[in-house]
Subunit: 145 residues, 2 copies
Amino acid sequence: MPATPDQVRAVIDQYVQAWKTGDKALLLSIFAEDCSWEDPVGTPAFVGHEGLEKFWAFAYPQDASRTLTPVPEQVIVCGNEGILRFTMQVRVPSENKGLNLLVTDHFVLNDAGRIKSARAFWDEGCVSCPDGMDMFVPDMSEAHV
Amino acid sequence: MPATPDQVRAVIDQYVQAWKTGDKALLLSIFAEDCSWEDPVGTPAFVGHEGLEKFWAFAYPQDASRTLTPVPEQVIVCGNEGILRFTMQVRVPSENKGLNLLVTDHFVLNDAGRIKSARAFWDEGCVSCPDGMDMFVPDMSEAHV
């Protein structure tokens, strides 16, 4: 049986929660072992939980100097698929730097209700600098190291 | 060679233009012969130009009593794929009825620069009634007849 719209909504809530609270175990728990994650779409996919851990190590702040706050704007659910539109607010308070990244995520759940495909759509038009701050520019080339 | 981001942007512009001006020939010209179109995602796909014509016959006003105005809000381009977020404003002036449908379209272009896959994400949360009007409710069951 395909995953239901309720399952899709619950998984998207957990996805946001995992990023908000820095809960890597929660993030991994909602992805299938054979998942793939493209971020942004068009770059090589991170594959499986090993790939997710790599992406997390790149994206998630490793110390308290940087904060990530996902701010959901819209969720659309169609069968076992979902769209999450959200802004990832990245802040580096000590340097007064920040970045707002407006992401349109597309998720497909497998029959077990876990994410088998996650694809993050964003381009340069989705990047903005918060008022009164300098732009924080992550080194995307490090994502795949 | 995969389609370029410039080709994706041009095709999305033409897509909006086709709906805005009622230009079915323009719409067909930007889709591959073997395209598929899901609207909304989760319902059976319309396949090929024959399928597109069927969808057009359902969706596009057949007389002047109803108007369709696509209002683009965001375009995201990732390689040969694109996202178009727009509101389709449907109006039936004689009955003071209307419908705003906030759609997140996902397009994939083939190497010839034509759309091979179009998938429209929307659910009940994407439907709203314009201020001061009664809700226009299309009969979606007619789409696949």
